[in-house]
Symmetry: C4
Amino acid sequence: AANLDENLSGKRYASYTVFKGKAALSIHPILPSFSKLESGGSRVSRNGSVMLTFFPAVGQRKYDYTKKQLFALSPTEVGSLISLGPAESCEFFHDPSMKSSNEGMVKKSLSITPLGSDSGYFVNITVVNSVEKTNDRLSVPVTKAEFSVMRTALSFALPHIMGWDQALTNHHPSPAISKPRVERPHPDSEWER
Amino acid sequence: AANLDENLSGKRYASYTVFKGKAALSIHPILPSFSKLESGGSRVSRNGSVMLTFFPAVGQRKYDYTKKQLFALSPTEVGSLISLGPAESCEFFHDPSMKSSNEGMVKKSLSITPLGSDSGYFVNITVVNSVEKTNDRLSVPVTKAEFSVMRTALSFALPHIMGWDQALTNHHPSPAISKPRVERPHPDSEWER
Amino acid sequence: AANLDENLSGKRYASYTVFKGKAALSIHPILPSFSKLESGGSRVSRNGSVMLTFFPAVGQRKYDYTKKQLFALSPTEVGSLISLGPAESCEFFHDPSMKSSNEGMVKKSLSITPLGSDSGYFVNITVVNSVEKTNDRLSVPVTKAEFSVMRTALSFALPHIMGWDQALTNHHPSPAISKPRVERPHPDSEWER
Amino acid sequence: AANLDENLSGKRYASYTVFKGKAALSIHPILPSFSKLESGGSRVSRNGSVMLTFFPAVGQRKYDYTKKQLFALSPTEVGSLISLGPAESCEFFHDPSMKSSNEGMVKKSLSITPLGSDSGYFVNITVVNSVEKTNDRLSVPVTKAEFSVMRTALSFALPHIMGWDQALTNHHPSPAISKPRVERPHPDSEWER
């Protein structure tokens, strides 16, 4: 289906990146797609996500952007991450070729494990390619302050990648004139809802 | 009263759905309605809600959408759900025919009970129809990660279904020229408020 | 100073009201005012607030709106309310005539005290008028679910009544063409900030 | 690079200020800058921040605005502040001349330490100028209620100073007509993501 959301002029990009000794981790949000309905309205046809990008370090404050590894968090995976307790872990498994003929050839996993003493988390990506016989692993320690930024940014992003901000925007700023109403709150409105 | 909010062209829809073995649960927000005041402004005339839709499973990853059961959460019920502790339960009772001649014929209840070990909740709907002598019950286990998405989406939606986002939007982007003011914060402004 | 913010056409109103046996409590947000600066921009000249309105009950689900009592929460008082622990109390004192010749004649206090067992709060207003020798007190029990709605609505409202939502809105959707930049995150940007 | 974001007409300013016996502390948010990309979109070229401004008291409710000290919090420092536990402390060090020939001449530090008994924090700034041989220190006690306002305002500001609100705004309100789609949620969409 033709989707005008793909028109990128005017699109704005923002990310949050932490640079560490062995690798860097950058996160950025991706908007959902909408498809037009016959009613004239539109509906989320594909959820957005939050993309995690890992870059290996190749020297003092130098990173190799050609060797990046990607992992896109779904809304439920974002929910898992933002509700993670200080001593809890979580792990997600993705197959980038799911439902294609290459299914099972590449296996990606993302794990988040506590650094200990409520001081942050290790964020690890493992990519196993059974065709090319490669096994890449990148690990980025994230401080409590950095994880607080990620948690706040992901909590903010979550309703947006699900399209709820757009579903909750009133596209009719000025309602038509109707009969004047009593401006007082009325108890019945609570019981009837 | 005529209400232009009912014009649906341009309206955007978004939901969050979890598919489980015996049933699926989908939630989506519904905007409040405003009525015009004589002053030219407008006021919430009916609160929005968050609609829960349950679908029974009729096979492997197949759901019967004609047998859906609906339950609309009011702002206060949303408040109850988002403040639910990990070991707490809540239950709501609705009569879809309240204040009509059919009052009491259909009784709906929604209960949310912990799965145990801080691992999520069961969300159950029961619909008892005393005329048709039916008693339908659908139950969906929701993981901690999925409930975190619901909690975040409902917390985001709550001020919107109450119309507070619209009441807090300044519709006057450019104030008129006024006397230049000292730009410094002043202690008296704190005490006078 | 002339302030176009006072033009009310297009203004939208929303509140949250709980109706109880002896009184009802309604809360609604009030926007801040901005004054124009010589630079062409504008600055908050008076903070917004959250208005609490109490109505006494005069019968079964009947309230006397002419006997309402008002209490406007400042941003700091909103901060106190939303950070209240389940067993904590808070109390605020206002003098509606502060800095006028009537200072001290009317004393208002608002107190919020726990109902016990993490089940909500009593919200009480006391208005002592030493001229008219009156002492009015209204008290509304607020359930945990209702307080959760208030906390969520007030947390949402707080940055808006302080004008931070407007200060954080970019009024320049399309920056001018500048030199093309490398799109990759760069470690130096973190250290230089 | 020319940056139209510097056009200040229409810009709105808001802050939050606490006035105490020995000094006042004011905080206000600063927007990120965007640079245009060749695709026609734009990207954050410099993160925003939250500026803390300290003013020494020079008498009863009088403050000397010429002796102000500034400290700009980066997104990660904001993350540290909003995740601070009631008994925790944090400290940040800035060098306003970093990477210039004056590097190391002026050292600023900001520390936030608990007042004790979950009653708030001391916010302290120290500015050591090794050229002018000065050592300035200002300290402002912040109540629990005031810190709750700061935490809420900073949590709100964080996604904005990172530009995520702009990256998550759909600049395409009306998608083009596409093939009509089934409006029902479908389980496969969950597994495929």
